[in-house]
């Protein structure tokens, strides 16, 4: 039963919380130079950063899907030693400061890294940095869904002669499709906003590693108006993801 009226103290704190979250965003919209927005957002540097950001975030999403879905499946369906350790490791990038992730990536995949792929200062480096922070969102969403789905569907498919791989793609995956979509959207949005790991590992070069968040950070130092315009664009893209997820969520209910 719902209380007729929420206690004043709780309501006040809740309103303060909402204001705290919304005020910065409202301020951003308030300071956005709407008149010059089209000009600011179609400048060569903004378009270059936008194109690169979309390429890198989609690349990071593809990478996350390719390794994240099997990882989620492994965590949800297979019993092995050290599983809780692996789950902790997968969750770590969620709480790790991204710049620490960037340093770690540098030591792993840099020129003198453990795996010296020389990915620092390359677009692949930017994709890798984004995937590093985005992957947990996908894995956790898909793993949660897999745990919630009845395993007997898989068993039935097996008794009907379906191979394990075929079952995975034709039975298991369709069942967790909504979670896969939600996880993908979150992972993509996280990749799009990635800053710390990217600037640390991939550096900052327009057209090659300077994604939108890096562009915002550096532009703010010279041209605050343009930086605010770019920030508004990123805010709009993030909102778009949330709205898209909401309609997906409604569809599945």
């Amino acid at each position: 039963m719902k209380p007729a009226r929420p206690p004043l103290s709780l309501a006040t704190a809740a309103v303060a919380g909402a204001v705290f979250l919304l005020l910065p965003l409202i301020s951003l919209l308030d300071r956005t130079p709407w008149q010059s927005l089209p000009r600011l957002l179609t400048s060569t540097s903004a378009l270059t950063a936008l194109r690169l950001s979309i390429e890198c975030s989609l690349g990071a999403l593809a990478l996350s899907l390719a390794v994240g879905v099997p990882l989620a499946w492994l965590l949800a369906r297979v019993d092995f030693r050290g599983k809780s350790l692996l789950r902790a490791a997968v969750t770590l990038p969620l709480v790790l400061p991204p710049v620490v992730g960037g340093v770690a990536l540098l030591l792993a995949f840099g020129r003198h890294g453990v795996v010296p792929l020389s990915l620092s200062f390359t677009t692949w480096g930017a994709i890798l940095a984004e995937a590093f922070v985005a992957l947990p969102f996908l894995v956790l969403a898909v793993e949660g869904a897999l745990l919630a789905v009845d395993e007997r569907y898989d068993d039935v498919a097996a008794t009907l002669g379906s191979s394990t791989t075929r079952t995975f793609f034709r039975v298991t995956m369709p069942l967790v499709l909504p979670a896969l979509a939600a996880g993908s959207a979150l992972a993509w949005a996280r990749a799009l906003g990635e800053f710390g790991a990217t600037i640390t590992f991939a550096g900052n070069l327009p057209g090659s590693t300077q994604t939108l968040p890096l562009d915002v950070y550096l532009t703010l130092q010279n041209d605050p108006e343009a930086a605010i315009a770019l920030s508004t664009l990123l805010l709009a893209l993030s909102l778009l993801v949330l709205v898209a997820m909401r309609s997906r969520w409604r569809l599945t209910r």
Partner: protein
């Protein structure tokens, strides 16, 4: 209506935040800590300046080190500082806040090429930086060190395709020190601070960098004065900075 509401909320929050906390702009209470915003290339020398200043005045100095352009942007957005020191006069000129004094040049600096320890790529001068396959990292053009580096390369008639434009000069030093980049252009004082971790090659076409400092309030002025005092100058000289003209 909504806008009014938002503005009202901002007002309430601002009032709540500003009452009670000490703002560096207020000169009434005797401060025990001052805040100085300083260019990244000053980090080592200024840490020493602070302890000497503290000994003399019993006032503690805390620093925010970053690229000069970053500091100026923060100050223009209302970041609290008592004094600011940048790596060039042009960047300091972009300050739009009210200042308590006139800018004073307290040091000068030169730029050099740094490479990995032992100079494995055999770089002998600016011309080598255009070599194909060489990973060169510079400071971004918005950073004073980036502007000086660009001027030095232009004067040497060399076109370089850098792999990254770092947001402060220390980033360049780090990438070269880690071996991620083959070469970079930094201040001679940065190269000195890295010791034997990097090799240094002269860059004769380098312009002379000038470091101005300015007080934002009366308290900050005493730190700016300290920098130009003989004690302050001796510390800067120890770190390889040139005296102001």
């Amino acid at each position: 209506m909504r806008r009014t509401l938002a503005i009202a909320l901002v007002g309430v929050l601002a009032a709540a935040c500003s009452s009670g906390s000490r703002r560096p702009g207020e000169a009434n209470a005797k401060p025990h800590t001052i805040t100085v915003f300083a260019a990244a290339s000053l980090a080592n020398a200024f840490t020493d300046e602070a302890s000497a200043y503290e000994k003399q005045t019993r006032v503690h100095v805390r620093f925010s080190f970053a690229g000069s352009q970053d500091l100026v942007a923060q100050l223009n957005e209302g970041a609290p500082a008592d004094a600011v020191a940048t790596a060039d006069t042009a960047t300091l000129g972009k300050l739009t806040i009210r200042l308590a004094g006139t800018p004073a040049v307290f040091a000068r600096n030169r730029l050099v090429i740094v490479t990995a320890k032992g100079n494995p790529k055999h770089i002998t001068g600016a011309a080598d930086l255009s070599r194909r396959g060489l990973v060169v990292v510079l400071a971004a053009p918005s950073v004073p060190a980036g502007r000086y580096a660009t001027a030095a390369l232009q004067a040497a008639h060399v076109t370089v395709h850098p792999k990254s434009l770092e947001d402060n000069v220390r980033g360049v030093l780090t990438k070269v020190g880690l071996g991620e980049a083959d070469a970079g252009i930094v201040y001679v004082t940065d190269a000195d601070s890295a010791g034997t971790k990097v090799a240094t090659i002269a860059l004769p076409t380098s312009p002379i960098a000038t470091y101005p400092a300015v007080a934002v309030d009366a308290i900050g002025q005493s730190f700016v004065d300290f920098l130009t005092s003989s004690t302050g100058q001796a510390i800067l000289a120890r770190y390889g900075f040139l005296r102001p003209e």
